[in-house]
Amino acid sequence: MWPSLFPEEASTIAPRVDALYFFLVAVSCFFVVLIAGMLLLFAIKYRRRHEHDVGASIHGGMVLEVTWTLIPLGIALIMFVWGAKVYFDEYTPPPGNSVIVYGLAKQWMWKFPPMDGQREINELHVPVNQRVKLIMTSQDVIHSFFVPDFRVKMDVLPGRYRTMWFEATRTGTFHLFCAEYCGTGHSRMVGQIVVMSPSDYQAWVAGGVSHNTLASAGQTLFTNLACASCHSAASGSRGPVLNGIYEQRVKLQGGQSVIADDAYLRESIMNPAAKVAEGYQPIMPTYQGLVDDEQLLELIEYIKTLKPAAASAPSVTTSEPEGQGTSQPITEHGKSSSAVSSPSAAPTAQR
């Protein structure tokens, strides 16, 4: 049997990458045939027939030079624009609901901490025909999340959150590779993406409910680290109240502002002095070394569940622009998590 020499097209972006690829293949074939053909034709037609023959007295031609400068330039610009369009769409998560997945890379495995499904190592279950948004970080060196059949790849960096998305269009099992060299077991840092039909996926999620969801673990941490001693309305506003802060714009000292996304929340825990919210003193100590990457995800996930207090401006939640739809990941991801986010009192609420 002749082995397949082309990867499956198993995501929404794959056919678009392939279309661009085939355009480039066609252009390349044209130029290879043109140049090789001309070379062969001239070399044979004008082969040296007598030992002392010399070539004709031709030294150049401006028309030709301009032609073969401008035509390739025009073709190159088409490639540039087309490629940029695909890249933008691939690296900019579209609005609307997505399944949120966290990814932790480490030498030499992929960990997908459970939002409320099953804890997964080197294997990720996702539903078909539904957008999946990945928020990834590395616990040691640089890795790269690469699923050839989806045509997606993104380097996973230590100390930073990187966000990518894909939407699988076929059920099945697909290779997950680490594409950035990461040491001895680099070629063993492989896994699989299991794309399931919606009903199978629901069953799979329901089958693995553990009581320890990310957010509930984060709540425990939040309590144990005594975060609420500053970050609560009762604390005399030593630190900002975190209810409803996720994906909102935060004003900083010095007049700038920032969206409180995963990366900002992470930075504020690890390096609190980097961006201090307006009206507060830079008194928070760093939690570098006190919480690891997985615990950070738990804390952030918990902060996301903190609904704004009813008294404070309700417009905060409704003013969300259409591009920020990813702030309701929990409800999207299965019903079991709603219990966690229901109490909307102070973050220290004992449950």
Binding site: L20, L24, S28, H59, P72, A76, V141, M154, D155, R188
Partner: protein
Amino acid sequence: MSTAVLPRENYLNTDYGLRSWFLTTDHKRICILYLLTITLFFAIGGAFATVMRLDLATPAADLVSDETYNKMFTMHGIIMVFFFLVPSIPATLGNFLIPMMVGAKDVAFPKLNLASWYIFTAGGCFTLWALISGGVDSGWTFYTPFSTLSSNTNVTLAALGIFIAGFSSILTGLNFMVTIHRMRAPGLTWFRMPLFLWSMYAASLIFVLGTPVIAITLLLVAAERVLHLGIFDPARGGDPVLFQHLFWFYSHPAVYIMVVPGMGVVSEIVAAFSRKRIFGYTFVAFSSLAIAILGFLVWGHHLFVAGISVYSALVFSLLSYFVAIPSAIKVFNWTATLYKGSISFATPMLYAFGFIWMFTIGGLTGLFLAALGIDIHVTDTYFVIAHFHYIMVGGAIMAYLGGLHYWWPKMTGRLYPEGWGKLGFITVFLGFNLTFFPQFILGYMGMPRRYHAYPPEFQTLNVLSSAGASILAIGYLIPLVYLLWSLKYGPIAGPNPWGAKGLEWTTSSPPPKHNFETTPIVTEPAYNYSELEETAVV
């Protein structure tokens, strides 16, 4: 073809003994020193590649351990890039030919030239020491924080070896630039220069401007490993991606160090074996400079998935397309040169054809990598491996071998056997394409680079590639054997066996110690095969 005898006195027989070689300041002898040194490095680097290709013939990682495999590709890359490809054409052919082509007795700073070789060799010994005393597994790219925090191999030693060798590049580039500026014979204006000089000038610019950056970068890696500075360590507030910016700021232009001199060689060969002036001389000359300058502005295309903003990715993608244009101009001009030429199929010309084929494929596949949407999929896969081997091995080594054959009679006074030359070319050409073309398909299928073990569906293409590599290995041995044979048994070449134009062909072969009996005076443009009017320069 010639019953002549070797010139009674030439640079090879004026002095004898090791001292006359190791203390020589003659650019031609220094060329020979480099030739021997880099051939040794090529053999070592090639041996690593052979082990890798053997191992990759099966999906299971069964020949060597993971650690060994990682050291193999690291040392293959370090040695081939820094100790073979970067110095290959400049340090050998450049050293031999630049003074001869400008009509001078030597380079501008002969002692510095010898010092460059010593520095290069010292750097090479350092790196070999790193290899023998346990090896390095960081990849030739030394990406942080793996190289600074995770790898427990001889990264520091290897980085210092490259750091030292870098000074040799800088001094060589400086020497060449000054030679071309200051030592041209009377009448040799800039636009009468052979195109090889233009391309060597462009490469020297990169040597001088780019090498300090890689030196600083590798020093920072060494310092971070030893002193734990935290420049690249995110836990200490550093940025691991910063390293990639610094590294590629040199290492992308370094690709042009490898290929632009090759373009110069090909221009010489195409002109000589078509007996015709290069079509569009000024376009070819300036395209070398354009590549050298634009080459400094495209490093970001190595970072499209690494964590740069989408807007900077846009800029780097666009600039990468711009740098493709001068390369395309060269290919079209070489092709047009053949039109109504008097074309000989001698071995150097075959290598020039081979270069154009390889470089065209390598260049066109570069367009795939510059296309942002495709790069996401193919970067860090075998597609990239295939692409840069087509440029750096297919392109640069084809040109190097072509140039070596073309000027071999000048360097040694003897001709190699033509039949064996053609056989060697055909073996290298077929072996190379069989090795690397399947890797494009493999890469698009998704096989990541630097993988020791791989899923079984990738095996067919890997077997093809390994088969090609064994043919390629034989192909490289053939010229080695007959070129050595020709040193003693080759027919005497005479001063100008090809009927070529250029000052180097006006003196005896091998040339006398001071190259020319009298200072040449240049009265005509380069490649003046059909007695052109000089005013007709485009």
